[in-house]
Amino acid sequence: MDILTGLLHGFSVAFEPANLLWCFVGVFLGTIVGVLPGLGPPATIAMLLPLTFSMNPAGAIIMLAGIYYGAKYGGSTTSILMNVPGESASVVTCIDGYQMARKGRAGAALGIAAIASFVAGTVGVLGLMLVAPPLAKFALSFSSPEYFALMSLGLALVVLLAGRSILKALLAALLGLWIASIGTDPFSTTSRFTFGRLELLSGIDFIVVAIGVFALGEVLGNMETREDAALLEMPSGLRNLLPTWQDLKDCRFAFANGSIVGFLVGTLPGGGSTIASFLSYGLEKAVSKRRDQFGTGVIEGVAAPEGANNSETGGALVPLLTLGIPGSGTTAILLAALVLWGFKPGPLFIPEHPDLFWGLVASMYIGNVMLLVLNLPLVPLFAQVLRLPVYVLYPLILGVSMVGVYSASGSMFDLGLLMVFGLLGYLMRKLDYPAAPLILGLALGSGMERALRQSLMMSQGSLSILVSRPISAVMLSLALLILLIPLFGKFNAWRLRALES
């Protein structure tokens, strides 16, 4: 079917009153789930799955997809307001988003997150509609060596996330890599660093570390400095709460960057929104004119990762719908849902069920508009949280963190771990170690180890496999280049000094 007729047909499906209603229910639930840390889209969709058995499949997939991309809109809320990352993909948003809130620009940060989500989310759907089949073929050319190179590129960003000391950033990243190695070795089934605890057999949940190090570390650190009761200044008036025209202009590149990086990484079955958001943040910082201000509350630092996070949804649906291959946890359960409704997701799904595919695509355009309309008015409302005095706000952050961690796993052991990582976050702050590299190392560690070992198994132990494949060679060279940037800086400074004397 031709794209235009397909889309028109899709809109006729999506605009049926019942489907419009399901779309709204989906994005509304998604927003709520996104705002609450812990309970993520996979859990929500799994719980609603039994309800969908009696629904019309088009309405059901429209609603479940609405939860999926709707949750990504709300994910940034607690990151920006409380430094509590709601999901793994909004960890990067904490870096500049929370600093913006501390400067009284929480509204602008929340607003730009919603706008970037809308722009990139829509671009993601466009990509899904226009280039899905050829892109799926490209994604298949990615295998372990390419994933290793992609993650090395991600890890090289450590030098960009570093504060004053590159050495401390590298040490923090190393710690993150070590935490990632805790659990059962997937290749030999050997337990590593589990200290005899069966709770550690499947490793430490990423979100426990992120919430502990970011949110609890922040609360502990601030309690020590005894900030005044009026912690953050909050401008009054609706206009001051939303991003300004200048903000939008500053974010032009971030919108494009987030949209493209997010979509491309999303199409890779081994990608994921966490890597997408880190990569787009790194790219944004690398090309920015005010690189040195990143980490102090720069608006592009919120727009780029939030955009990437949302455009990733469109990308992740590409392998799911064109090949029947799920990349992330949420797409895996969408696949299970399609099977339970009696469909056979696979390479022939789109040609055989154009109603469902085009109805879904059209509903995602509508859903993204709904989300923007739903989220922008919520911005001033959520921003009011910061009017609370610290003796209310800090216990609130602690409570939100603990409920978030417990609702994700239902494990008391994880709550204990949360406290441990909160202390770690506090110590790192005291000793001036940056937290972002630790989280980056943790996010990439196990995937990187796996990809490297898989590559070496493919090549029977020869490292040349990493550089003999073109895509992998290009990305590894880029990673090397990024790692060398600080050295160039040092060299330049030395040369200038030499010239002066």
Partner: protein
């Protein structure tokens, strides 16, 4: 004093038989424990099962799915072990529950430490290659692997998964040798095969079906005792000339330890009635599973035989066995 005690014991015994005669029925909503997070294979089955139980009115109460992820099923097994004697909790086990205690010292609870109730499903599998691969039969592949030991590659799950066990058995029977590469996600395994990065894989028939129809994959053999309805033209391992044991992937129900016999019978009967409902049979057919119902006694015997064989196979594969 003695008389009083005797009377008391008699009364207690009378009460107990009275309770038994009435039979056990869950009085509160039943917790159905699974070892995956929401959205995992067991979780989806559990939620579908809860809906079927409600729709077919198999239970007087509701069934609530409880996720106890972690420890490759060890956390869920330990949770059930803690619920000793609890009449309102049951769990869904899979092959992982049988294998993890064999290889992880931390995973102390085996199926024998719990109360096996019934086996529900057997999941067959097929052996597939990319559609443009030169191998037309499994024998072709084995020949190629013999000529070039260690050069061909198989994508699969962890090294205790059925995928690897099938490889071990075939390698042992034929003397051929190829590499096994673990991919944690099912999607990545398929992507590696149809992207041409590996040569062969063990895949669920339902998943393979669509890739065959689209012309991406070819099936060489099926890991099943009988030919599956979806693959009438594909030989079973035995028919293809490889006399290796068929390794089943199982799913079934397990209860906490220390529950009365009446409870076991109740849940066994629940499973039996469940497997006879049209909704269940449609579910089995849609997924190309085999109805693998077995009662508690047979399941226990199956468990002994299965773990015994598994221990040998994994030992051969170089995996460290801890119990």
């Amino acid at each position: 004093m003695i008389v009083r005690t005797v009377l008391f014991v008699l009364a207690a015994a009378g009460l107990a038989t009275g309770a038994l005669a009435q039979g056990y029925k869950p009085a509160r909503p039943v917790e159905l424990v699974v070892h995956t997070g929401p959205g995992g294979g067991s979780d989806v089955l559990a939620r579908a099962l809860a809906v079927m139980a409600e729709r077919e009115k198999l239970l007087p109460v509701r069934m609530v799915v409880v996720n106890k992820p972690g420890g490759n099923s060890a956390v869920a097994a330990a949770y059930l072990a803690e619920k000793r004697g609890d009449p309102n909790t049951v769990g869904l086990f899979t092959g992982v529950w049988l294998q993890t205690p064999l290889v992880s010292a931390e995973a102390k609870v085996t199926l024998r430490d719990l109360t096996p109730v019934a086996r529900l499903v057997l999941e067959p599998a097929v052996i597939a290659v990319k559609a443009d691969a030169p191998y037309k039969t499994l024998a072709d592949f084995i020949e190629a692997a013999k000529k070039n030991p260690g050069a061909l590659k198989q994508s699969g799950g962890s090294n205790t998964s059925r995928d690897n066990v099938v490889r071990q058995l075939l390698q042992k029977a034929t003397g051929a040798r190829w590499v096994f590469i673990s991919f944690p996600g099912g999607g990545e395994r398929i992507a590696a095969l149809i992207g041409g990065h590996v040569d062969i894989m063990v895949i669920e028939p339902e998943e393979a079906g669509e890739h065959i129809r689209a012309g991406n994959m070819r099936v060489l053999a099926q890991i099943s005792e009988h030919r599956l309805p979806g693959f009438p033209g594909v030989p079973t391992l035995k028919e293809a000339g490889f006399d290796v044991p068929v390794v089943p992937q199982v799913r079934g129900m397990v209860a906490p330890p220390g529950i009365p016999k009446a409870n076991v019978q109740y849940w066994e009967d629940f499973c039996r009635r469940l497997t006879r409902t049209p909704s269940w049979q449609k579910y089995i057919a849609d997924n190309q599973f085999e109805d693998g119902f077995q009662n508690a006694a047979d399941l226990t015997a199956f468990y002994e035989e299965f773990t015994g064989r598994m221990r040998d196979i994994l030992k051969d594969a170089g995996v460290k066995i801890v119990r």
